[in-house]
């Protein structure tokens, strides 16, 4: 017997597909930001579903800070090949020339140049009028109020007081030249939903999410992985091998690992459900000051 009922995961999936199709149909040059993390992976799968049996009709863009975990890049290149994506990588070459790094320039400045600025450069270079991002509203308090379609002015700035009302699933897709929209198809997903979907869909994820013995140092109350020779050790720091995994992925010197033995998807989900800390705890950037995420968004961060 059919009950004509959808589970919450199915409903989220169908709603997100609707959003992705709407953007593809109404914008001239959409692009999907791919950050290699689990959320991006889910978003990419939803894009595949939105257009099957046709190919994804837009480019997929990765803004590379050059400080990502090596395993992330390996995973990315493999996935791009397997899915036959129309893929672009963007690196802020000015930043590379000036050797901008998280050690000498501080988290904020480094992130601003290699992420926020790089993203703006990439969007301008591509002439994109809509950019999909994998952000979720449950990630952080200021995100809770962001629209699914987030309007940005010519300078990529977000003005929380000047956002378009968003009713039903009727999205206003009109922008003037130079303006753009950031679109968040996963707005209504939670971290748990994302993992459940990864599990349901059997989606590949970067192995860093799974527990393994890795070389780490204790820094700022968290474990930082020594991913390559560029890692600068502070006086007294001695890399040690710990059984750790990551709840979120980013630039390795800024991403904290947690001690964990969860080496399968169900174990990860179980650990998360029993955990008493939110996922952003491992991200150093949010803890610089209260409201820091909001400040970054105003400047053009995703």
């Amino acid at each position: 017997m059919t009950t004509y009922a959808l589970s919450h995961l199915q409903q989220l999936e169908h709603e997100s597909i609707h959003v992705i199709r709407e953007v593809a149909a109404e914008f001239e040059r959409p692009v999907m930001l791919y950050s290699i993390g689990k959320d991006s992976g889910v978003m990419l799968r939803l894009a595949q579903k939105a257009f099957a049996p046709a190919r994804i009709p837009f480019k997929v863009l990765h803004v590379n800070t050059t400080w990502k975990f090596r395993e992330m890049i390996t995973f990315r290149d493999q996935l791009v090949k397997e899915l036959g994506l129309d893929f672009v990588e963007w690196i802020n070459q000015d930043g590379v020339r000036n050797d901008i790094n998280p050690f000498d320039h501080g988290t904020q400045r480094y992130t601003h140049i290699m992420k926020t600025e790089a993203l703006k450069q990439a969007l301008e270079a591509g002439g994109y009028d809509a950019a999909f991002g994998g952000a979720r509203r449950d990630e952080e308090k200021s995100r809770a109020k962001e629209r699914v379609f987030s309007f940005r002015d010519r300078f990529h700035q977000w003005d929380p007081k000047n956002q378009r009302p968003e009713l039903w699933n009727l999205f206003n897709c009109r922008v003037a030249k130079g303006e753009s929209i950031r679109v968040f198809p996963l707005s209504n997903w939670t971290e748990l939903d994302v993992w459940l979907y990864v599990h349901r869909e059997n989606l590949p994820v970067v192995p860093l999410y799974f527990a393994k013995h890795r070389p780490v140092v204790r820094r700022g109350g968290t474990w930082i992985m020594v991913d390559d020779e560029r890692m600068r050790l502070e006086p007294g720091e001695q890399p040690e091998t710990k059984l750790v995994r990551f709840r979120t992925l980013g630039c390795y010197p800024l991403t904290g690992a947690i001690e964990s033995g969860a080496d399968t998807l169900p174990k990860i989900i179980e650990e998360m459900l029993r955990s008493r800390d939110s996922e952003r705890q491992g991200r150093k950037i949010d803890y610089v000051e209260a409201g820091s995420m909001e400040q970054k968004k105003r400047e053009g961060y995703f």
């Binding site: 059919t2 004509y4 009922a5 959808l6 589970s7 919450h8 995961l9 409903q11 989220l12 169908h14 709603e15 597909i17 609707h18 199709r21 709407e22 593809a24 149909a25 595949q48 579903k49 257009f51 099957a52 049996p53 046709a54 190919r55 509203r137 449950d138 308090k141 200021s142 809770a144 109020k145 929380p160 009302p165 968003e166 009713l167 039903w168 699933n169 009727l170 206003n172 009109r174 922008v175 003037a176 209504n188 939670t190 748990l192 459940l196 349901r200 169900p266 174990k267 989900i269 179980e270 459900l273 029993r274 955990s275 008493r276 939110s278 705890q281 209260a290 409201g291 909001e294 400040q295």
Partner: protein, 647 residues
Amino acid sequence: MSYARQIDELGIEGYLARYGRREMLRFLTCGSVDDGKSTLIGRMLYDSQQVYDDVLAATKKASARFGTTGEELDLALLTDGLQAEREQGITIDVAYRYFATDRRKFIIADTPGHVQYTRNMATGASTCDLAVILIDARHGVLEQTRRHSFICALLGIQHFVIAVNKMDLVGWSEQRFQEIRDAYSDFAARLQVRDIHFIPLSALKGENVVFRGASMPWFQGAPLLQHLESVHVASDRNLVDLRFPVQHVLRPNLDFRGYAGTLASGVVRIGDPVAVLPSGKQSRVASIVTFDGPIQQAFAPMSVVLTLADEVDVSRGDMLVAPNNAPPLVNGFEAMVVWFSEQPLQPGKQYLVKHTTQQTPAVVTDVRYRINVGNLHREPAGTLHMNEVGRLRLECARPLAADAYAQNRATGSFVLIDRLTNGTLAAGMIVERKVAEDTVQRRRGSADAGSNVRLQHRRKVTAAERAQHLGQRPFVLWITGLPRAGKSTIAYGLEKWLFDRHHHVQVLDGEILRSGLNRDLGFSGADRWENQRRAAEIARLNLESGISTVVALVSPLAFERRQAREIVGGRHFFELFCDAPLEACEARDEDGLYARARAGELGNVTGVDAPYEPPAQPELHLDTLHDSAADNLQKVVAFLRERKLVK
């Protein structure tokens, strides 16, 4: 977390299987500033153990700095977001919260209670199944309460929970609760809401939110969270009327043509007959395609791809429906509208309507009334301002497949968009189909009358013979451009030139048309559109009589010019673009049109507060800023000579 207990019981795999079947419930919380709404949400999250330790620690820190509860943890701070708002101690936008129990996943649309933020509430309510309306037990039913209830009902929410909060401050009084319940029930009789449920509670003390508590033994009902877990909302969905607005056409290869979209309502199965709106063409569903393989049937709100058995023309904005249960195609309809923009509504001005997956220019032809949302009285009004609600009549340039909102949320809703700023100005809910149907009926009636006129049988002279008799090849030259761009100068210059060479020609411009034939038309978008349609029809009649026509009308919109071309017939129709920048046209403003528009005396003036869409590919493009009128006339003559229309 509370999950831990369930995992212990079921094992993780068992837990995942069970969780996978959970339903989703979206609800709205609304209340006045001090009703304790944020505290209620915070309490719900806190007591159902959905708050992480690090978030709790940050909140404790914030409580000391911004909190209003002294030493105690300020639960309201769990949900407040933006920095500026936090410092002002208020919530000003819709914030979405997420939590889940073992029964359901919940999405909370947290909306503010201020008078000026009605728009946010309407936004939040538009996707919700249920509304939790807070009432401060000390104050009872306030104007705010009525306002919120009205908006929730207007947006089609069928389930209300009236949470009578701060019962601790009225001594947990059953009598007080009954008073409020009676007062609210009296008021709510005028709203069309199916299910209204009352719960006395204290968010601050945690009574009847997640746990029952001991202070109100006289209340036998379930606490709020338990009610939210069990309220039956599945039957609210419309599974009867098949409505599939086409979002996107997929053509991965020559053998596959699929229509991607989200079912707005109804169920579709392989083999079902479908009609395409607005064309009316019929076919059958050949397959239902998904990434995970073909399926036999799909239902709302699934996003799928349909293929049809026949090659019929279908594009984005079309709607697939059941042939025996199709919505009417309407050009005009009445709707309840919530006005969002600081710019008040301008009747007669052209806006864009976005309805399902299509957009069409539209004008508001009438403001029937405004609703005083405090007392639900109807008031006469000529416009709507921000946060006002009213009933309007709209006329659209293209027909919409529209249902009444009460029957169908997805095909009965629309937003109004400003053509110049692209801002979303208003949200509308279609309330009546009858008036609109009358219009269609009338038009259909006149179209039928037209089909009874059998000109072909009586006519003894053909268009070609007439033209031959006059010794000319007639044409229609359609001149478009901003007001004062030099259209009439070209038109009358050309008329004289043609007349001197014995070519029969008629000029139609705004002045000629409006002094007689179109005396009944004003300057609203719909009237201007009709003005152009009639000009095109005259041009067509002239053409059949062998006479050329030069039309000089602003005709600002591409689709209107396209329509004129269709009426006349493409072979004889030439579009001429009189191109001059707005500043130049304003400088030539001899009769003060622009000046009056700038002064706000005239509305809907192209270039000032109405858009102009320059032709992408006009047959002839004249620069009236740099080139003289005489030079431009020579260009037109050369153009006509090239096409052997004149000697």
